[in-house]
Symmetry: C2
Subunit: 219 residues, 2 copies
Amino acid sequence: MNYLEYLTVWKKLSSEHQKALTQAAAIRKFAKGTIMHNGGDECTGLLLVCSGQIRAYMISSDGREITLYRLFERDICLFSASCIMNSIQFDITIEAEKDTEVLVIPADVYKKVMEESAPLSNYTNEVMASRFTDVMWLIDQILWKSFDKRLAEFLLSESDIDGTDVLHITHEIIGNHLGNPREVVTRMLKYFQNEGLVKLSRGTIEICDKEGLKRIVEK
Amino acid sequence: MNYLEYLTVWKKLSSEHQKALTQAAAIRKFAKGTIMHNGGDECTGLLLVCSGQIRAYMISSDGREITLYRLFERDICLFSASCIMNSIQFDITIEAEKDTEVLVIPADVYKKVMEESAPLSNYTNEVMASRFTDVMWLIDQILWKSFDKRLAEFLLSESDIDGTDVLHITHEIIGNHLGNPREVVTRMLKYFQNEGLVKLSRGTIEICDKEGLKRIVEK
């Protein structure tokens, strides 16, 4: 199995570029809870997730954290290789949230191929734009965070009303209740699911952590 | 004057690509206060600032704003052409903060050249990484905003002490007072300057808006 084929751009690369990346890449395993990359001057390399789960977060000078985004199988982490671009002037920390296996692509090799290859460079642009979208969503949440509270409150209230932790309700209907588009509801519910608060399946929302939802309401 | 030469990558583009961009680009003027781009489905094109000043900001659903970054002469605005990448899934608003002249590069032409040209694509990566850095700094400020308060308080207190609005003090010394690196002080002072609160020149900091600084301290 060549995990590099997880890169959606793989088949568009020249065989020479494919070879350079293949020769340089190496599998590494990280046990759950391990810090895989820790900002600063490190340039760990790009991390392509083969299995497991990664959390990217910022840490304040007094040690507080905020999750920026999560990465799952087939996702790639660019910012663990911030030295591939001069303009990346911020530090993030990456931890293995589950036992995780990644393919590490050394930054210098990736950078060299990217400089020559329009497909790889355009792919990298898309990856960065996708993380940018995550982070813009986060700013929106942080600044104007009423919606997560309102959604948590709504779920708790529905659960009380129905006397069950398994809600049979569509995202669209919740949106209608709260005055938000369905997409906004779906995105926040997925965020809740990532946080272990709910479990989503077709047509149902199962509440897994009532106390966690209450903390959101009260924060 | 071909303003496209402002693109630091210009000389690395093929003459064919240079020609395509030159033929498509057009100058537009915007009076101070004009909304130049307003999120949503618009794909205004890339905006290369020839003169003037642009502000990029987010608006909450209830109309509150937050400045993401500012662009000056020779800067380029990507996110007014979010359709060049599928993964840009957020909306920002762009306004002319001063009378502004821009070169508009149509998104479809830029996208086509970028797909073929590794240099233009890599340049675009650097531009996006630079905006990403601005936004990450902003998150840091929003979440853990003690430093702007502390700096505003310090400037007001120094001004009181010296009985003048023109402070003769280096950024390094302020950093020493507040326990932060000089770079952090410089960055925040530049932010204050952009907000019209202070005016920086070699060796001095002039306080222009005392009430504004007080509002920061008290917020």
